[in-house]
Symmetry: C2
Subunit: 326 residues, 2 copies
Amino acid sequence: MTLEDVARLANVSTITVSRALNHPDKVAKSTLERVTRAIEQTGYVPNMLAGGLASRRSRLIAALVPAMTNAVYAETIHYFSEALKTSGYQVMLGECGYTEESEHEIVTTVLSRRPDGILLTGVKHTLECRRQLMAARIPVVETWDLTTTPLDVAVGFSHERLGESVIDHFVDKGFTKFASLCASDRRARLREAVMKARLTRRGIAGLTFAAVPAPTDLRRGREGMRQLIEQGVNGAIVICSSDTLAHGAMIEAQAQGLSIPKDFAVFGFGDQSFAAETFPALSTVRIDRPEMGRRAAEALLRRIDGELLDDPVVDVGFEIIERETA
Amino acid sequence: MTLEDVARLANVSTITVSRALNHPDKVAKSTLERVTRAIEQTGYVPNMLAGGLASRRSRLIAALVPAMTNAVYAETIHYFSEALKTSGYQVMLGECGYTEESEHEIVTTVLSRRPDGILLTGVKHTLECRRQLMAARIPVVETWDLTTTPLDVAVGFSHERLGESVIDHFVDKGFTKFASLCASDRRARLREAVMKARLTRRGIAGLTFAAVPAPTDLRRGREGMRQLIEQGVNGAIVICSSDTLAHGAMIEAQAQGLSIPKDFAVFGFGDQSFAAETFPALSTVRIDRPEMGRRAAEALLRRIDGELLDDPVVDVGFEIIERETA
DNA sequence: GCGCTGTATGTTAGCGCTAACATAATTCGG
DNA sequence: CCGAATTATGTTAGCGCTAACATACAGCGC
């Protein structure tokens, strides 16, 4: 079934059918009706490979996240797709792993589909990857971080400011013993480094570390917490690089008969939906993922429409949420 | 940058470049080298819209799941994509929601990209959707369920047998008080119905219900558990339609000062990675999602290659995992 | 040398659609 | 009722690639 079949049935030329589908306001009402009926009768489904080739608009947007099994990214993309749906774009999801090299690999494959725009996670990419994206001349939105030199636009928050705020918050509250349970993720590591520096600045000597591989899950959280308990940091506040890690840490503490927040305070990152529902409820820092997804979609759409944004860097901020664990 | 640019630089015709990329064994070694160099020099990225149009193979496979934020589906698709990667297919993920109608809508959009195959979740689709898929004449793999009448091939397990096995298992172990914490998901409901029937058959009178909306999260689990506690089913085994619900139920019980499995036994579904890491460790029924993803990929690839499978229905089974909660 | 095979490359004609321009039909002021 | 403006439709060419069919050329036995 092609446009031509529909056109023949409706007794018009193919371009009229094309217009009926893409610019219905440019077709007379009676014609539009005839065409619509013909489309229904034939069960015609447009071929967007052909359409994309001819118009040089694929109506496809690629979104690359480290892992789709990571709820935090899945959610961002969910809201991102949602926001794009009304404008007729489809999202093609890709997993780019936790290294720049694997990201570049995926970018190449994805570019062969000629997306009208790309969403990337993070602002660090290989030089070659940056070059390729520039050469492709398509709008790019980088998310989950900020930079003064975005490829095109960036929508995220400052991990530096976040790390400092968290430390200031807890030092001001009188905490003196700090531990970090951190996954091997570039942005998590950055926050950790900033926190360590800030602690020193605030006159607090040490930060006890527990490192676990990304991606994070309850097991890693329990593992990390075991490490910390062995290091004897009783009474410390355990700052985790994700809510999942924090939840795992809580479970491990409970399993060892420790009480939270009495024996350990625990602090998460992300404010995932489950954070408010753990027992005790997890204190964490909220990242507004729906907002980030939506703002990324909005910025990308405007860039696709050729608009030049007066501020290519959108800071969606963060918010410290005090619940019961810290 | 097009094939022609590369061809000119390598001093060959465009078709030779095309062959160098798609059938390198059909090109002389010296030519292949020249072409490869030219591709590197120009930074050429193939246009798969054009390629797909010309060859009638998009090298795209669509995968539709109810929600990508649901870890269980995200994982299935992750393994599915992984298994397809080596054969040069890209996966286009779509969210089809929890109703047949929204699924049909997405199927139509997705078909316009002319995928070489489609993965669907579940075996229930609107009549119109089935028609459209048949008309498109592309291989389809239905997952997460079985049927005697697959659209094409199905890879999953029997929810009926699962429900019966679970009941038999716990009745045999001496449980007499049963409760169901079930999300409004077609397959979850099916299992629940089967379990209820089986209980009657085994001479056990009642099954106390708590229903929560899909998708499931800790909050729903806590909510449902509150319902059950109010209904006074102390001492019952709470059979949950997902591990997440089960985890939520455990948290609620603990928050109310109840002990698991003493006051309540809890049983999950899925054996997600966190199930072994809750405290106490969650008993559940394992669904081998990596296996399901891989088998789905394998079956679909064989169908794409035109093979006729002698058994179009693949049962990946399930396994009851006894841990500490039941 | 002949025809035969097999390998390496090229030519031609589309895939199904839309941009850009061309033409036809309608409206409308004067 | 004319010509200009406006609206509705059609014609043509081409997007970038590949299938299918040439063609060219080397190697080989006789």
